[in-house]
Symmetry: C2
Subunit: 351 residues, 2 copies
DNA sequence: ACTTGTAATGTTATCGATAACATGCTTCAT
DNA sequence: ATGAAGCATGTTATCGATAACATTACAAGT
């Protein structure tokens, strides 16, 4: 460990500058309140002592930590990483620090994390998803701070929400494949295990099957295998399962581009022509989906935008928190967009 | 905002349980110190009041925040996300919370972040990279807490280090391509801009060119274009630049698998056969490199392991921090491994 | 019986800042 | 001239916990 020089406190600075602690505090928090000459004296003292203010003490005193808790399923999914980055970016000018926790798609873990995070007294909580354990829900309700549920559209929001409808995403996917004339349509998702469940992915599958049923088709080709988070392997494996169940499948929707890419590569390996033999689409508009050959049809959501919008919303709410609870709980729908690329094509049967 | 019930303090709990604050504190920190009957009373009071301890106050008092600062170039690179996850995983049992900052590959930004983070009084700092601004270096030296530089092997470590030699990675890549009989060898990297520079990628390129020169080859095919972080597009674009400069190039090393994948897809689009027309390799062993068709030869580093090892090291050091500065600064080299797959093959000229 | 040890709990003094109010000194309109 | 207003600064009281030391009660050893 490097040599520890005794850390200087605000008191040390004030003595060296010949002013009171409060003046030092003002120089740091609101320089305009202090005359230029004193300000310079204080700045010099800060410099000389390499003083770094102690925000722990500051937070206790001011009852504001400038921490924002962000609870996401995982960091190793570029979509969520984008959201985190967008949120961090939006909050940075206001000097907020992100406290990131990840749940591994487990609700009990989410509850544990919320409890642990609340002890840090964050100024707000951002949480992915709209389904939480009872205890988690109560803790957030009681917390007395703004809560933002993101990445879906909650029916009963705790407070604010920023996201899109995963259910509608699933419907849009199914409608696209149907419109191309496909009838043997499948999907690749993950298992709804008690260990780990991708509730948003499941919503997409639910929307997807709802359309299939409306079209008089069954949902027997909707595969749920493997645990969240999905991977390239997941796509490859579940495609294998699907092909075994229905060698004549014409079109497939994967709940994530990652799975879609894995499935596409599996097609390459098996000599299945995409989209001639099989139409394939994903979700998320990951970079790789655009870069793949052939480029993958997908549903674009702007993950970074979700983060940024959430940040902007919070800045506004936190700023007005002075004038009591007049902050109306807002629900922002950022929408999504079907991006047709090269992996989906008209059914040959139609031709 | 949800209704804010007044938050209960430890004092409230102690009154309700009919004990002193200190006893409540003990129940939470070291339950064995308290008799079973009092402990139960206290627990009941905690439950009744939905008491959540205030770690801000606790940290100020105990002078330990249980925060670990992790400073990484970006979160949207699965390698760094893996490292973060590994670190978080290792520290979690000891109840440490990660404070993540990302620099966007900019040293000035790193300095800014270090300064901001130090105000939170972390118990340790983990920072990617071994090159820092002068001010950043001094701040870390002065901080009086363990510092771990990761993702490279520093010549002059500030304190501890966990990583591998990027320079040797570059050498291994060049040696592999040379061993296959290639002589027209190029590389794809990013520009060393003042805005953003990937110093570790640059080390890999340096090691790479050192071998080329030893073999009597020039480095004119080492492309440095675009800003870090690299992307699939980056790989596609720089490959284009390289092909323009040397249509007869035989083998290429990309500083990242991401670039390598982008380059591979560009080859697909241009009808260049890999590895028949061109050998291609990357770095990082990203999932996508293994899944690609053809699967990409790469250099595997275990990013998650770097995080985990760092965590274990810190737990040990922080635990012993009681017995003064007896913690020997350790430098752990986790090494790397060349993974030969389908994108590199013997030079045809040799045949 | 008397020290001594130890287990369980309480008391007091911080930790390093900020909020809220108080003070002193100018300035300026009337 | 004078008092209200405003600027620049200081004082005092917290914020909610933990460390360190103090106390009490009872058991065990001699």
């Amino acid at each position: 460990m490097p040599p520890s020089s005794q850390k200087a406190t605000m008191h040390d600075v004030s003595r060296l500058a010949g002013v009171s602690k409060m003046t030092v505090s003002r120089v740091l928090a609101d320089p305009d309140l202090v005359s230029e000459s004193t300000r310079n004296k204080v700045m010099k003292a800060i410099e000389q002592l390499s003083y770094v203010p102690d925000r722990v003490a500051g937070s206790l005193s001011s009852r504001r930590t400038n921490f924002i808790t962000a609870i996401l399923p995982t960091l190793t999914n570029s979509n969520f990483a984008d959201t985190a980055q967008g949120l961090a970016e939006a909050m940075r000018p206001a000097d907020y620090q992100l406290l990131i926790g990840y749940t591994m798609y487990r609700l009990e873990e989410e509850e544990r994390i919320i409890r642990a995070m609340l002890a840090r007294r964050p100024d707000a909580i951002v949480v992915a998803g709209t389904t939480h354990t009872k205890a988690a829900n109560e803790m957030m309700l009681r917390a007395g701070i703004p809560i933002v549920e993101i990445w879906d559209t909650p029916e009963h929001p705790i407070d604010h929400a920023v996201g899109f409808s995963n259910y509608e995403v699933g419907r849009a996917a199914a409608l696209h494949l149907l419109a191309l004339g496909h009838r043997r349509i499948g999907a690749l998702g993950s298992r709804m295990d008690s260990d780990a469940k991708d509730l948003r992915g499941e919503s997409r599958l639910a929307g997807f099957t709802s359309v299939l049923r409306e079209a008089g088709l069954g949902d027997e080709l909707v595969i749920r295998e493997g645990l969240a988070p999905v991977s390239y392997d997941h796509g490859a494996l579940t495609l294998g399962v699907l092909l075994e169940r229905a060698p004549d499948v014409e079109a497939v929707f994967a709940v994530s581009d990652i799975s879609a890419v894995g499935a596409l590569m599996e097609c390459h390996r098996r000599g299945i022509q995409v989209p001639d033999d099989l139409s394939l689409m994903g979700f998320g508009d990951f970079d790789i989906a655009r870069q793949c050959v052939p480029a993958i049809t997908t549903i674009r959501i702007d993950a970074e935008l979700i983060g940024r919008k959430t940040g902007e919303l919070l800045l506004q709410v936190l700023d007005h928190s002075a004038d009591a609870d007049n902050s109306p709980a807002s629900a922002i729908n950022v929408g999504f967009e079907l991006v047709t690329r090269q992996t989906t094509a008209l059914s040959k049967k139609q031709l």
